[in-house]
Each structure stands twice: as structure tokens, then as C-alpha cells.
Symmetry: C2
Subunit: 331 residues, 2 copies
Amino acid sequence: MKKLINDPANYVEEMLDGLCMAHPGLTRVGGDKRAIARTQGMRKGKVGVVSGGGSGHLPLFTGYVGEGLLDACAIGNVFEGPTINSCQDAIAAANGGAGVLCLFGNYGGDKMNFEMASEFAAMDDVQTRTVLGTDDIASAKPEEAEKRRGVAGLIFAYKTAGAMAATGAELETVATIAQKTVDRTRTIGVATSSCQIPGAAGPNFEIGDDEIEMGMGIHGEPGIWRKQLRPADALVDEMIEMLLAERPDDTRRVSVLVNSLGSTPFEELFILYRRAAEKLDAAGLTIVRPLIGPYVTSMEMGGASISLCFLDEEIESLLGAPASCPFWTVE
Amino acid sequence: MKKLINDPANYVEEMLDGLCMAHPGLTRVGGDKRAIARTQGMRKGKVGVVSGGGSGHLPLFTGYVGEGLLDACAIGNVFEGPTINSCQDAIAAANGGAGVLCLFGNYGGDKMNFEMASEFAAMDDVQTRTVLGTDDIASAKPEEAEKRRGVAGLIFAYKTAGAMAATGAELETVATIAQKTVDRTRTIGVATSSCQIPGAAGPNFEIGDDEIEMGMGIHGEPGIWRKQLRPADALVDEMIEMLLAERPDDTRRVSVLVNSLGSTPFEELFILYRRAAEKLDAAGLTIVRPLIGPYVTSMEMGGASISLCFLDEEIESLLGAPASCPFWTVE
């Protein structure tokens, strides 16, 4: 795979420099500068909202630092969790004296390092709470929902937690809305082609010229099935059916994210969205604030994911609150 | 190439339906519904701003219909210009009684069809003016600048013309700022991989596993050279040098667009931007409002383009005016 890069060893450093040069609202902080923080709008007394994860998923994770979203974000090497130090740096940057919510995907390394960083924060009298993204329905059955990985749907929790924190709410309240948003969000993805970690000898997985894999994770984790490519409508029907199987009884409103995993173009996302909207309408669900585009990627990986966030009044109101970061603006 | 689509014959229809379903500010209008128009904010007495072109380049062209940008857009099949009827429909939708600017890329079919549509409009007493995007420096030498194709830099003219029209300016004034923006914008792209028209038997061009092509057009038109892949910094240096060779003497400020041609991810765009910013700084140019992302694509084509818009006070002010469309928000 041809990449427009320099020495792979400098990939993350150069990427983060470019990100912050292009977006002066972001800055690199901490000892090894592997945390991204807001340069403005940080407020004393506001709960901080922090995330973190590996590189290679832009706009996730660092691209969601901004007004009404994340205050800071720890970032690791490609597909590797951030270090304990980076997590500490992000927590410190987001700390306004009212505690910090750590909101990130359910991956072992990330959990371990944020846990250690939270213990260090406690020694400095910084209170933290942790909420894990667990939206990927392909990664475990409903009875083991706590084992599920976090994928694209995590950004709904960024939005509601960020908006709640902006109201001046307490840490417990911010953590509660984040957890509720996670609990009401489900994602399923389908991969058509792989990606390659810069400097690696080859792609991170092999897939046949006519094959696709349903449920594959954003680091190439195995999915539910691998079969021949089929029409978009048939794929969407299957994906929506799986997502709606976990629909809560109490809602008739839903937000939808049709997300490119990387190289799948906007045209195809809109073709997928069209069918998804028809199916949701037929299921008696009203779509609110749909998002269509590359929001959580795996570099040049092909494919798309569909996320549903099953709304209640509180979540819907917070999703609509003003927010601004390099990749997501709500007016 | 694996595409998440249905019958290729329905590709454009389904894509346009999905686009308008996802973005209720857009609607399909005209006899064959191959024009996209704003559903709100159209004003009597305002000059209309219209564009048009083939499908397969989202966000271009239809994605730039919105407040302070385009009022309507004619859209053709993949990589084919819009029909005369679609151009007429777009002009009619954008007509607020003060005339319509037709602002599109310098391609033969598009020119011919907009010319015919403008003649029909004149019969209905709708005055039009035409300004052509000609920013692609790879497509002809400076002495033949009027032969150059329009590529990603066209969106700077969308922004200034749209902002000028929003002030209530007359058609001549809107056309003048569009032409000035085109005259002060230059683009060069580098392709790493091809794309495939839906339903076609194969990709629209062949390129070796280790090759890239400098200056290739967004429909695979031949570029300046084809060589082995080289480091990003070396590519950017060459691209910036070519762009700065046509720098006007009167400016020290520039807007930059680092654009993905499709499958090249954000990470690489930021690596390219970092070097571009360093080179522009070294050349004594201050960067204003950089844009980094997929703004003008060729579906899943790999590669990136760099556009420079050499600012004067008027262009800079108009680029900063509030605007909102599905893919570009200026607050």
C-alpha cells in the first residue's frame, strides 16, 4: 500500500504536528507531547472530559478535542494504546478542579493505562471516573455486553458528556450521561479491504478480491462472517436488523452514524444511508441528526459501519447542543 | 475494486437521494431531479450562484450547496457533465431575479451545456455570467492558463462568490470576485492509485505498485511525470515550488487546501500539511484558514492535491464570512 509519508518512525509525530498546525485550537502537551489539549475555552470548575487511544483512526481520537466535546486526549502509536504518562498528561490538561471523566474504548491496554493514570491523579487529589465505549455488537453477545469493543459509536458519548460538562454539571452527572449514551448506542461494521501500519511489511489482514467481512473490528479483529461481496441494500438490511435486535422499548427516535472506515467514499455512504433510513422509518423510528462521513477510520481500510444511538429526551437535547472541533460542528 | 453499491445503473440516483435525506437543507429539483437546490434561505433579489459537474467527486459539487456558498448545482453521471436540462434546472432554482453566476470547472462538455442553458435562461430574461475554474497547473503552461482544468481550488471561488452574493452585491460584482479568486488560486495533485466507475470492467487507469503520478487530473487525465513513490516531504517540496512559481507579487497571505483524492487518510494529509506549512512560512507567506480533508475527490482514488489561494484583503474577508453546507462550515 502506497502511503504519502516520510520515515514511518516519525509518522505519529509529524501527523500530530500537522494536526495542531492546521487547527490552532489544539496543542500538544505533556512530557512526550502525546496528549492533545484545547488551547482555549478551558474553564475552572468545569468537569474535564478526556479520551485516548491509538493513532490511525482520525478523526478519532484527537480530532474530537474542542468546545462541547473532549478537553484533552491521550494518543498512542498506530493501533497501540497511549502510555500511562500520556494518559496522565491528558487528565492533567483537562483538570479544571471538578474532576475528570475518562471516556474511551474497551481495549485492555487502554484500560490498564488509564487505570494507572487515574490512580496517580487521585494522589494529586484529582477525582476521575471511567466510562468505556462498548458499542460493537459483533465483538460479544448481548449477555456479555461488557466485553464488547468500542468503535465509531463512541463519538455520541463524547458529544453528550462534553455538552453535559459544558453546563457545569458535576462529575457523577457527566459520567452518568456518558454511560447512558454508551448503553443506548450500537455499531456494526463491514470491511471490504485492509490497511497497513506504517513501516509494516504488509497489510494487517488478508481478504479475497471478492470477499467482505461483517463485524470486523477497527484493528482488523475477526468479525461474524466472511462471504462474497453482495449488494449494499442487502448488507444494510442485515446490519440494521442486527442493530434493531437490541433496540430499547422506550424510544421512537434514533441518531444514525454511517461511517467510512477509510477509503469508502461519500457516494457509497449516502447509498448505505438511504437504505438505512428507509429501514428505520419502516421500523417506526424517526432519525435525528444523522452523521455521514469518515468519523472513525482505520487509515485506508475499506468498508463502513452503521451506528444507532437510541435517543431519549436528555440525549437528544445534548446531541443538539452547540459544539465545535476540527471534524464536527453543531450550530 | 469492491464497492458498497447496488445496481450501478442506480448509483447516482441512490446517492443523490441519500444525500438529500441526510441533509434536509438540500433537495432534488427539475424534470429529472438532476439539480440540487437549497430548501431554505433563498432570497428574492439575491444573485444566484450555481455550479455543476459529474458525479463521483463528493463533496464536490452538490455538497457545497448551502448558506453563503452555492444556491443550486447541476449534476451528471459519474465523470460526465450535467445535461443542458439539468443546467437549466439549476439556474432556474438559483434565480432570485438578480441574475445567476455559473461557476464550474473548465471542461468541454460542462461548458457547452451551461452555455446552452444560459441561452435558454436569457430567453426567460434571466441574466447569467460564467466563470470557469482553471486552477490545475499541471494541465497547461502559464501562458495557456485559460486551457487549464478546474480541480479542488474551485471551492475557494464558491466561497468568495457565495459570500459576495450574500451581501446583496450585483451579478457583475459576484462574477468579478469569482474570477479574481480563480485567477489567484493554483492546484497540483499527485495520484497514488486509481478509481473505478461503477459498472465499469476495471479501474479508470493503471498505475504500478510502486508508482505515483504527479499532476494527474481528477478523472485520470495524464499528469506531468510518473515515477517511483518518494517521501512525502520531497513531494510537497516539489508541489509547493511549482505552485509558488506562479505566486503574485502583491501578497504575503495565502489559504491552503490539502485535499484527499479519496482513499488517502487524514493522517497523511496532516503529514503533507506540516511540510507545506513549513515551506510557505519559509517563503514569507502567512497561512490563513487552512483546509485539510476530503473536499474534492474521485471516489476511492489515492493521492492528494495541494491548492493555494493567494489572498488579498477582499478575498480573505469573504473566505471568513459565515457559511454552512453539509461539508464546510465557517462560523
